[in-house]
Symmetry: C2
Subunit: 187 residues, 2 copies
DNA sequence: GTCTATACAGTGATAGAC
DNA sequence: GTCTATCACTGTATAGAC
């Protein structure tokens, strides 16, 4: 029987609530209720609502970044494309609620935490771009034409497939979803 | 000098405001201000805030659906893949604000208008899936393996690239962005 | 058809007891 | 460290004058 720190209870409740109602729609009252603590405890553990969700979004990108680094370290070429796709889908399915929040927030530029999140987001896109470039190079093709936009397209393809999977076709196994994404890729 | 109906002024102001602050963050006060009308006029033209944004989101999918039907009518095979990609990017760049709203709302299942939007969303995904299937068939490959998840991946790829483009690399021409997406596709 | 004024519920945040 | 009680404020929506 491990005791979960209040801070983590709050973050988990915030994720669950915002997945349903969006960040602005998630009230501190409801987060406190779901966490099983009083609202005052929210403000003891975090300075503000923005601080809570800044942490949630940053955690999401951090988890993805760590998973991508590990996947890229273990494979190259086409295997790296597959490894990166699988790793991303695993992060999504580990926490679909968090994924929904990040997906909804990723293109908002006016958030208090936007300045902190933007570089992390850009760093994640670079992983996908570099994997695409390495694969193109391995096939003897030019890498010049592959920009961050292609990286964002790769990430978008995985996210689109992953969320469609988790929300509407949850019975499918993960490898099958990965194949649907990779079927789009050049070979 | 054409007179814009108040209803359209309100919808346009709602789109602009929600693109910055999200739907929940867009207040009726600010929408009225930006539309240049009184708050009471909002409630004369629409029964509620939800009704306004239900209309905004539905309009977004309708525009995309119309553009996709036209694009598919004019081209087949690889040309259809390109036509659909370009058409989607055109819809995005015609109204990036609306695109940001729809992108943020597309995976929310608790909205008042979710029941209306879900089938429209699914209908749009079918277009992408069918184009992928037709292209596979034209190359003599099996279409059985291509499901809605692949369709969602295609849409996700275009949306990811398109939003990266419009938000961070707006100087690039549209055809170049389309090529970045199509470079991911089998050939 | 659009305005002003207002009702009233819900919001993020704070203070102080335990 | 967590609680209860309460604050000032903003939100959606309504009523009625023009």
């Amino acid at each position: 029987m491990t005791r979960t720190p209040t801070r983590d209870l709050i973050l988990a409740a915030a994720v669950r609530t915002a997945a349903e109602k969006g960040i602005t729609g998630a009230s501190m009252d409801e987060i406190a209720d779901r966490a099983g603590v009083a609202k005052g405890s929210l403000y003891y553990n975090f300075p503000s609502k923005d601080a809570i969700f800044g942490q949630v979004v940053r955690d999401g990108f951090d988890r993805l970044d760590i998973a991508l680094r590990q996947a890229r370290g273990e494979a190259k070429g086409l295997s790296a494309m597959r490894a990166v796709t699988v790793a991303t889908l695993e992060v999504l399915s580990d926490s679909p609620d968090r994924a929904k929040i990040v997906a909804a927030e990723i293109f908002r530029t006016d958030r208090p935490w936007a300045d902190v999140v933007a570089p992390v987001r850009a760093g994640v896109v670079v992983h996908y771009r570099e994997v695409l470039q390495e694969y193109a190079a391995a096939r003897g093709e030019s890498t010049d034409a592959i920009t961050d936009i292609a990286g964002a397209a790769f990430l978008g393809a995985i996210a689109g497939a992953g969320l469609e999977w988790l929300l509407f076709h949850k019975e499918r196994p993960l490898p099958e979803v990965a194949e649907q994404v990779l079927a789009l890729m050049p070979r």
